[in-house]
Subunit: 217 residues, 2 copies
Protein backbone atom coordinates (compact mmCIF):
# COMPACT_ATOMS: atom_id res chain seq x y z
CA UNK A 1 0.00 0.00 0.00
CA UNK A 2 3.04 2.28 0.16
CA UNK A 3 3.35 3.75 -3.35
CA UNK A 4 4.80 4.83 -5.74
CA UNK A 5 7.91 2.67 -5.51
CA UNK A 6 10.73 2.10 -7.98
CA UNK A 7 10.83 -1.19 -9.93
CA UNK A 8 14.57 -1.77 -9.99
CA UNK A 9 16.41 -4.61 -11.64
CA UNK A 10 18.84 -6.35 -9.29
CA UNK A 11 21.72 -8.10 -11.03
CA UNK A 12 23.99 -10.65 -9.39
CA UNK A 13 26.45 -13.40 -10.29
CA UNK A 14 27.21 -16.68 -8.57
CA UNK A 15 30.66 -18.11 -7.81
CA UNK A 16 30.88 -19.61 -11.31
CA UNK A 17 30.04 -16.28 -12.92
CA UNK A 18 26.46 -17.21 -13.89
CA UNK A 19 24.54 -13.99 -13.75
CA UNK A 20 20.90 -13.28 -13.12
CA UNK A 21 18.52 -10.34 -12.93
CA UNK A 22 15.53 -10.09 -10.60
CA UNK A 23 13.13 -7.19 -10.25
CA UNK A 24 12.36 -5.76 -6.84
CA UNK A 25 9.84 -3.08 -5.95
CA UNK A 26 10.82 -3.05 -2.32
CA UNK A 27 14.13 -1.27 -2.53
CA UNK A 28 15.19 2.11 -1.26
CA UNK A 29 17.86 4.38 0.12
CA UNK A 30 18.26 4.13 3.89
CA UNK A 31 21.29 6.27 4.73
CA UNK A 32 23.28 9.06 3.08
CA UNK A 33 26.59 8.66 4.98
CA UNK A 34 27.56 5.92 4.56
CA UNK A 35 25.43 5.60 1.44
CA UNK A 36 23.24 2.58 2.07
CA UNK A 37 20.28 0.91 0.44
CA UNK A 38 17.95 -1.90 1.39
CA UNK A 39 16.25 -4.53 -0.74
CA UNK A 40 13.64 -7.02 0.45
CA UNK A 41 13.84 -10.45 -1.20
CA UNK A 42 11.80 -13.61 -0.66
CA UNK A 43 14.02 -16.58 0.31
CA UNK A 44 12.44 -18.68 -2.49
CA UNK A 45 13.81 -16.44 -5.21
CA UNK A 46 16.81 -17.72 -7.15
CA UNK A 47 18.81 -14.53 -6.57
CA UNK A 48 18.26 -14.61 -2.80
CA UNK A 49 20.86 -17.29 -2.12
CA UNK A 50 23.29 -15.98 -4.72
CA UNK A 51 23.27 -12.53 -3.10
CA UNK A 52 23.36 -13.97 0.43
CA UNK A 53 26.41 -16.11 -0.46
CA UNK A 54 28.36 -13.61 -2.56
CA UNK A 55 27.33 -10.49 -0.58
CA UNK A 56 27.16 -8.48 -3.80
CA UNK A 57 24.53 -7.11 -6.16
CA UNK A 58 23.87 -4.19 -8.48
CA UNK A 59 20.71 -2.06 -8.47
CA UNK A 60 19.86 -0.95 -12.02
CA UNK A 61 17.20 1.77 -12.41
CA UNK A 62 14.37 1.04 -14.83
CA UNK A 63 13.26 3.29 -17.68
CA UNK A 64 10.18 3.06 -19.89
CA UNK A 65 12.24 1.20 -22.50
CA UNK A 66 13.16 -1.35 -19.84
CA UNK A 67 9.61 -1.97 -18.56
CA UNK A 68 9.20 -5.20 -20.48
CA UNK A 69 12.54 -6.48 -19.19
CA UNK A 70 11.76 -5.41 -15.63
CA UNK A 71 8.43 -7.20 -15.68
CA UNK A 72 9.95 -10.33 -17.19
CA UNK A 73 12.72 -10.36 -14.56
CA UNK A 74 10.05 -10.08 -11.88
CA UNK A 75 8.01 -13.09 -12.98
CA UNK A 76 10.49 -15.54 -14.52
CA UNK A 77 13.12 -17.36 -12.48
CA UNK A 78 16.83 -17.38 -13.22
CA UNK A 79 16.68 -21.15 -12.65
CA UNK A 80 14.91 -21.50 -16.00
CA UNK A 81 16.25 -18.77 -18.29
CA UNK A 82 19.37 -16.68 -18.89
CA UNK A 83 17.70 -13.28 -18.68
CA UNK A 84 20.58 -11.20 -20.06
CA UNK A 85 20.55 -13.39 -23.16
CA UNK A 86 16.78 -13.75 -23.57
CA UNK A 87 16.22 -10.01 -23.18
CA UNK A 88 19.36 -9.10 -25.15
CA UNK A 89 20.52 -6.76 -22.42
CA UNK A 90 24.12 -5.57 -22.30
CA UNK A 91 26.10 -7.24 -19.51
CA UNK A 92 28.63 -4.65 -18.37
CA UNK A 93 31.44 -5.57 -15.98
CA UNK A 94 31.02 -3.60 -12.76
CA UNK A 95 33.85 -1.63 -11.16
CA UNK A 96 33.82 -2.91 -7.59
CA UNK A 97 31.70 -6.06 -7.53
CA UNK A 98 31.60 -9.27 -9.58
CA UNK A 99 27.87 -8.86 -10.24
CA UNK A 100 27.40 -7.32 -13.71
CA UNK A 101 25.62 -4.03 -14.45
CA UNK A 102 22.90 -3.58 -17.09
CA UNK A 103 24.19 -1.34 -19.88
CA UNK A 104 20.74 -0.03 -20.81
CA UNK A 105 20.07 1.27 -17.28
CA UNK A 106 20.68 5.00 -16.69
CA UNK A 107 22.05 4.48 -13.16
CA UNK A 108 23.74 1.41 -11.70
CA UNK A 109 24.49 1.15 -7.97
CA UNK A 110 27.07 -1.46 -6.98
CA UNK A 111 26.34 -2.79 -3.50
CA UNK A 112 28.02 -4.84 -0.78
CA UNK A 113 25.71 -6.55 1.72
CA UNK A 114 26.30 -5.52 5.34
CA UNK A 115 23.49 -7.44 7.00
CA UNK A 116 20.35 -9.51 6.46
CA UNK A 117 17.23 -9.24 8.63
CA UNK A 118 14.86 -12.19 8.54
CA UNK A 119 11.42 -10.59 8.78
CA UNK A 120 8.94 -13.24 7.67
CA UNK A 121 8.05 -13.78 4.02
CA UNK A 122 10.93 -11.49 3.09
CA UNK A 123 14.54 -11.00 4.09
CA UNK A 124 15.74 -7.41 4.26
CA UNK A 125 19.21 -6.99 2.77
CA UNK A 126 21.08 -3.92 4.02
CA UNK A 127 23.96 -2.86 1.80
CA UNK A 128 26.57 -0.18 1.23
CA UNK A 129 26.74 1.45 -2.17
CA UNK A 130 30.38 1.27 -3.25
CA UNK A 131 30.06 2.59 -6.80
CA UNK A 132 27.54 4.67 -8.75
CA UNK A 133 27.68 4.65 -12.55
CA UNK A 134 25.60 7.14 -14.50
CA UNK A 135 24.97 7.19 -18.23
CA UNK A 136 26.39 10.51 -19.41
CA UNK A 137 23.33 11.26 -21.50
CA UNK A 138 21.55 12.22 -18.27
CA UNK A 139 24.10 14.91 -17.48
CA UNK A 140 23.35 18.40 -18.77
CA UNK A 141 25.95 20.73 -20.31
CA UNK A 142 27.06 21.83 -16.84
CA UNK A 143 27.56 18.23 -15.73
CA UNK A 144 24.45 18.26 -13.56
CA UNK A 145 22.48 15.09 -13.29
CA UNK A 146 19.00 15.41 -14.83
CA UNK A 147 17.41 12.18 -13.77
CA UNK A 148 13.84 13.45 -13.99
CA UNK A 149 14.18 13.34 -17.79
CA UNK A 150 15.39 9.73 -17.87
CA UNK A 151 11.91 8.24 -18.29
CA UNK A 152 12.07 6.33 -15.02
CA UNK A 153 9.23 3.98 -14.18
CA UNK A 154 7.16 3.92 -11.00
CA UNK A 155 5.26 0.90 -9.73
CA UNK A 156 1.86 1.42 -8.12
CA UNK A 157 -0.26 -1.47 -6.88
CA UNK A 158 0.37 -3.81 -9.81
CA UNK A 159 0.86 -1.19 -12.53
CA UNK A 160 3.96 0.24 -14.15
CA UNK A 161 3.50 3.98 -14.71
CA UNK A 162 5.58 6.61 -16.47
CA UNK A 163 6.45 9.81 -14.64
CA UNK A 164 4.55 12.98 -15.55
CA UNK A 165 4.94 16.69 -15.06
CA UNK A 166 7.13 18.41 -12.50
CA UNK A 167 5.03 19.74 -9.61
CA UNK A 168 7.81 21.52 -7.75
CA UNK A 169 11.31 21.14 -6.43
CA UNK A 170 12.43 20.44 -2.87
CA UNK A 171 11.92 23.57 -0.74
CA UNK A 172 9.51 25.38 -3.10
CA UNK A 173 6.93 25.79 -0.33
CA UNK A 174 9.19 28.11 1.66
CA UNK A 175 10.81 30.02 -1.20
CA UNK A 176 9.62 33.60 -1.36
CA UNK A 177 9.03 33.50 -5.07
CA UNK A 178 6.11 31.10 -5.29
CA UNK A 179 5.51 29.69 -1.82
CA UNK A 180 2.73 32.12 -0.84
CA UNK A 181 0.38 31.62 -3.76
CA UNK A 182 0.85 27.90 -3.72
CA UNK A 183 0.06 27.82 0.00
CA UNK A 184 -3.26 29.58 -0.61
CA UNK A 185 -4.13 27.03 -3.29
CA UNK A 186 -3.06 24.14 -1.06
CA UNK A 187 -5.07 25.41 1.89
CA UNK A 188 -8.17 25.86 -0.26
CA UNK A 189 -7.71 22.31 -1.46
CA UNK A 190 -7.31 21.04 2.11
CA UNK A 191 -10.41 22.89 3.27
CA UNK A 192 -12.42 21.47 0.42
CA UNK A 193 -11.20 17.92 1.16
CA UNK A 194 -11.90 18.33 4.89
CA UNK A 195 -15.48 19.34 4.12
CA UNK A 196 -16.05 16.02 2.39
CA UNK A 197 -14.76 13.88 5.22
CA UNK A 198 -15.25 13.33 8.90
CA UNK A 199 -12.85 11.90 11.43
CA UNK A 200 -13.65 8.28 12.16
CA UNK A 201 -12.02 5.32 13.80
CA UNK A 202 -12.30 1.55 13.71
CA UNK A 203 -11.27 -0.98 11.13
CA UNK A 204 -10.61 0.09 7.57
CA UNK A 205 -13.87 -1.52 6.48
CA UNK A 206 -15.90 0.42 9.07
CA UNK A 207 -14.24 3.62 8.14
CA UNK A 208 -14.80 3.02 4.48
CA UNK A 209 -18.50 2.58 5.12
CA UNK A 210 -18.66 5.77 7.15
CA UNK A 211 -17.14 7.72 4.34
CA UNK A 212 -19.34 6.14 1.74
CA UNK A 213 -22.42 7.16 3.69
CA UNK A 214 -21.07 10.66 4.06
CA UNK A 215 -20.44 10.91 0.38
CA UNK A 216 -23.77 9.53 -0.70
CA UNK A 217 -25.87 11.86 1.46
CA UNK B 1 20.31 7.90 -6.69
CA UNK B 2 17.63 5.24 -6.25
CA UNK B 3 14.48 6.76 -7.81
CA UNK B 4 11.54 7.25 -8.09
CA UNK B 5 10.63 7.12 -4.41
CA UNK B 6 7.42 8.09 -2.62
CA UNK B 7 7.35 11.35 -0.64
CA UNK B 8 5.21 10.25 2.27
CA UNK B 9 4.06 12.35 5.19
CA UNK B 10 4.82 10.73 8.55
CA UNK B 11 2.53 11.85 11.37
CA UNK B 12 3.24 11.28 15.05
CA UNK B 13 2.17 12.57 18.47
CA UNK B 14 4.17 12.96 21.67
CA UNK B 15 3.09 11.89 25.15
CA UNK B 16 1.17 15.14 25.64
CA UNK B 17 -0.70 14.67 22.38
CA UNK B 18 1.23 17.33 20.44
CA UNK B 19 1.25 16.11 16.87
CA UNK B 20 3.68 16.68 14.05
CA UNK B 21 4.13 15.77 10.39
CA UNK B 22 7.47 15.17 8.68
CA UNK B 23 8.06 14.17 5.09
CA UNK B 24 10.28 11.23 4.27
CA UNK B 25 11.39 10.03 0.86
CA UNK B 26 13.20 7.04 2.25
CA UNK B 27 10.31 4.85 3.19
CA UNK B 28 9.15 1.55 1.77
CA UNK B 29 7.53 -1.81 2.25
CA UNK B 30 9.93 -4.50 3.47
CA UNK B 31 7.76 -7.55 4.19
CA UNK B 32 4.30 -8.80 3.20
CA UNK B 33 3.67 -11.21 6.13
CA UNK B 34 3.86 -9.70 8.63
CA UNK B 35 3.22 -6.46 6.77
CA UNK B 36 6.21 -4.29 7.56
CA UNK B 37 7.62 -0.97 6.41
CA UNK B 38 10.82 0.93 7.03
CA UNK B 39 11.47 4.65 7.30
CA UNK B 40 14.89 6.29 7.55
CA UNK B 41 15.01 9.38 9.76
CA UNK B 42 17.90 11.65 10.75
CA UNK B 43 18.34 11.82 14.55
CA UNK B 44 18.25 15.66 14.38
CA UNK B 45 14.68 15.73 13.16
CA UNK B 46 12.02 16.67 15.67
CA UNK B 47 9.90 13.61 14.89
CA UNK B 48 12.82 11.20 15.36
CA UNK B 49 12.73 11.26 19.16
CA UNK B 50 8.93 11.37 19.31
CA UNK B 51 8.68 8.22 17.21
CA UNK B 52 11.57 6.53 19.03
CA UNK B 53 9.91 7.20 22.41
CA UNK B 54 6.29 6.44 21.52
CA UNK B 55 7.02 3.63 19.05
CA UNK B 56 4.17 4.82 16.82
CA UNK B 57 3.68 6.71 13.58
CA UNK B 58 1.37 6.91 10.58
CA UNK B 59 2.50 6.90 6.94
CA UNK B 60 0.19 9.11 4.84
CA UNK B 61 0.52 8.85 1.05
CA UNK B 62 0.96 12.11 -0.85
CA UNK B 63 -1.19 13.24 -3.79
CA UNK B 64 -0.67 16.16 -6.17
CA UNK B 65 -2.99 18.28 -3.99
CA UNK B 66 -0.75 17.53 -1.02
CA UNK B 67 2.56 18.40 -2.71
CA UNK B 68 2.80 21.82 -1.09
CA UNK B 69 2.10 20.33 2.35
CA UNK B 70 4.57 17.49 1.79
CA UNK B 71 7.32 19.91 0.79
CA UNK B 72 6.59 22.19 3.74
CA UNK B 73 6.64 19.25 6.16
CA UNK B 74 10.01 18.25 4.73
CA UNK B 75 11.73 21.60 5.25
CA UNK B 76 10.12 23.14 8.35
CA UNK B 77 10.57 21.71 11.84
CA UNK B 78 7.77 20.77 14.21
CA UNK B 79 9.74 22.62 16.88
CA UNK B 80 8.70 25.91 15.23
CA UNK B 81 5.27 25.40 13.73
CA UNK B 82 2.07 23.35 14.21
CA UNK B 83 1.92 21.89 10.75
CA UNK B 84 -1.63 20.51 10.92
CA UNK B 85 -2.86 24.00 11.80
CA UNK B 86 -0.64 25.97 9.43
CA UNK B 87 -1.50 23.73 6.49
CA UNK B 88 -5.15 23.35 7.56
CA UNK B 89 -4.94 19.60 7.25
CA UNK B 90 -7.58 17.40 8.86
CA UNK B 91 -6.26 15.62 11.95
CA UNK B 92 -8.09 12.28 12.06
CA UNK B 93 -7.86 10.03 15.10
CA UNK B 94 -6.22 6.75 14.10
CA UNK B 95 -7.69 3.36 14.94
CA UNK B 96 -4.74 1.58 16.56
CA UNK B 97 -2.14 4.24 17.39
CA UNK B 98 -2.18 7.59 19.16
CA UNK B 99 -0.46 9.32 16.23
CA UNK B 100 -3.12 11.04 14.09
CA UNK B 101 -3.80 10.36 10.41
CA UNK B 102 -4.08 13.03 7.71
CA UNK B 103 -7.65 13.18 6.41
CA UNK B 104 -6.65 14.44 2.96
CA UNK B 105 -4.37 11.46 2.32
CA UNK B 106 -5.82 8.62 0.22
CA UNK B 107 -4.09 5.88 2.24
CA UNK B 108 -2.92 5.96 5.86
CA UNK B 109 -0.79 3.17 7.33
CA UNK B 110 -0.70 2.98 11.11
CA UNK B 111 2.63 1.59 12.30
CA UNK B 112 4.24 0.18 15.45
CA UNK B 113 8.04 0.33 15.63
CA UNK B 114 9.71 -3.08 16.04
CA UNK B 115 13.33 -2.01 15.85
CA UNK B 116 15.74 0.82 15.09
CA UNK B 117 19.05 0.36 13.24
CA UNK B 118 21.65 3.09 13.71
CA UNK B 119 23.29 3.33 10.31
CA UNK B 120 25.14 6.66 10.29
CA UNK B 121 23.46 9.92 9.31
CA UNK B 122 20.12 8.10 9.43
CA UNK B 123 18.37 5.66 11.74
CA UNK B 124 16.31 2.98 10.04
CA UNK B 125 12.97 2.42 11.77
CA UNK B 126 11.45 -1.01 11.12
CA UNK B 127 7.72 -1.19 11.85
CA UNK B 128 4.66 -3.39 11.58
CA UNK B 129 1.60 -2.00 9.83
CA UNK B 130 -1.32 -2.58 12.20
CA UNK B 131 -4.03 -0.71 10.31
CA UNK B 132 -4.61 0.47 6.74
CA UNK B 133 -7.25 3.12 6.06
CA UNK B 134 -8.25 3.86 2.49
CA UNK B 135 -10.40 6.71 1.26
CA UNK B 136 -13.39 5.03 -0.38
CA UNK B 137 -13.23 7.27 -3.41
CA UNK B 138 -10.29 5.14 -4.62
CA UNK B 139 -12.41 1.97 -4.64
CA UNK B 140 -14.21 1.14 -7.87
CA UNK B 141 -17.80 -0.17 -8.03
CA UNK B 142 -16.55 -3.72 -7.37
CA UNK B 143 -14.68 -2.59 -4.26
CA UNK B 144 -11.29 -2.91 -5.95
CA UNK B 145 -8.64 -0.45 -4.98
CA UNK B 146 -7.64 1.85 -7.89
CA UNK B 147 -4.67 3.62 -6.45
CA UNK B 148 -3.08 4.45 -9.79
CA UNK B 149 -5.83 7.06 -10.28
CA UNK B 150 -5.21 8.78 -6.94
CA UNK B 151 -2.72 11.32 -8.32
CA UNK B 152 0.16 10.04 -6.20
CA UNK B 153 3.42 11.96 -6.27
CA UNK B 154 6.89 10.58 -6.96
CA UNK B 155 10.12 12.19 -5.84
CA UNK B 156 13.11 12.09 -8.17
CA UNK B 157 16.41 13.75 -7.30
CA UNK B 158 14.95 16.95 -5.81
CA UNK B 159 11.78 17.15 -7.92
CA UNK B 160 8.19 16.22 -7.18
CA UNK B 161 6.62 14.60 -10.24
CA UNK B 162 3.11 13.49 -11.06
CA UNK B 163 2.55 9.97 -12.36
CA UNK B 164 1.85 9.51 -16.06
CA UNK B 165 0.46 6.83 -18.31
CA UNK B 166 0.16 3.15 -17.51
CA UNK B 167 2.88 1.16 -19.28
CA UNK B 168 1.70 -2.29 -18.26
CA UNK B 169 0.57 -4.40 -15.35
CA UNK B 170 2.56 -6.94 -13.39
CA UNK B 171 3.08 -10.08 -15.48
CA UNK B 172 2.26 -8.52 -18.87
CA UNK B 173 5.57 -9.71 -20.34
CA UNK B 174 4.60 -13.37 -20.01
CA UNK B 175 0.88 -13.11 -20.87
CA UNK B 176 0.10 -14.65 -24.20
CA UNK B 177 -2.02 -11.73 -25.33
CA UNK B 178 0.59 -9.01 -25.64
CA UNK B 179 3.87 -10.43 -24.33
CA UNK B 180 5.27 -11.44 -27.72
CA UNK B 181 4.92 -8.16 -29.55
CA UNK B 182 6.18 -6.18 -26.61
CA UNK B 183 9.21 -8.44 -26.33
CA UNK B 184 10.14 -7.76 -29.94
CA UNK B 185 9.88 -4.02 -29.29
CA UNK B 186 11.90 -4.32 -26.07
CA UNK B 187 14.64 -6.36 -27.72
CA UNK B 188 14.89 -3.89 -30.60
CA UNK B 189 15.21 -1.13 -28.02
CA UNK B 190 17.90 -3.05 -26.10
CA UNK B 191 19.85 -3.76 -29.29
CA UNK B 192 19.73 -0.11 -30.23
CA UNK B 193 20.92 0.96 -26.77
CA UNK B 194 23.69 -1.65 -26.76
CA UNK B 195 24.98 -0.30 -30.07
CA UNK B 196 25.55 3.08 -28.48
CA UNK B 197 27.49 1.78 -25.48
CA UNK B 198 30.48 -0.36 -24.68
CA UNK B 199 31.25 -2.25 -21.52
CA UNK B 200 33.71 -0.32 -19.38
CA UNK B 201 34.98 -0.38 -15.85
CA UNK B 202 36.56 2.05 -13.42
CA UNK B 203 35.18 4.98 -11.51
CA UNK B 204 31.94 6.63 -12.53
CA UNK B 205 33.89 9.59 -13.87
CA UNK B 206 36.04 7.38 -16.09
CA UNK B 207 33.07 5.54 -17.35
CA UNK B 208 31.23 8.75 -18.07
CA UNK B 209 34.15 9.93 -20.16
CA UNK B 210 34.28 6.67 -22.06
CA UNK B 211 30.67 6.96 -22.96
CA UNK B 212 30.94 10.58 -23.93
CA UNK B 213 33.77 9.74 -26.34
CA UNK B 214 31.72 6.93 -27.76
CA UNK B 215 28.77 9.21 -28.26
CA UNK B 216 30.74 12.04 -29.80
CA UNK B 217 32.49 9.89 -32.39
Amino acid sequence: MLYPVPAVMISCADEEGRSNIMTAAWAGTICSDPVMVSVSIRPERYSHDVIARTGEFVINLTTEDLTYAADFCGVRSGRDVDKFEYLQLTKLPSAKVKAPSIGESPVCLECLVTGIEHLGTHDLFLARVVQVSVDEKYLDEKGRFVLEDAGLVAYVHGSYLSLGEKLGTFGFSVRKKDGGNRRRAAVRSAESAAGRKKPSSGRAADRKDTRRKKNSK
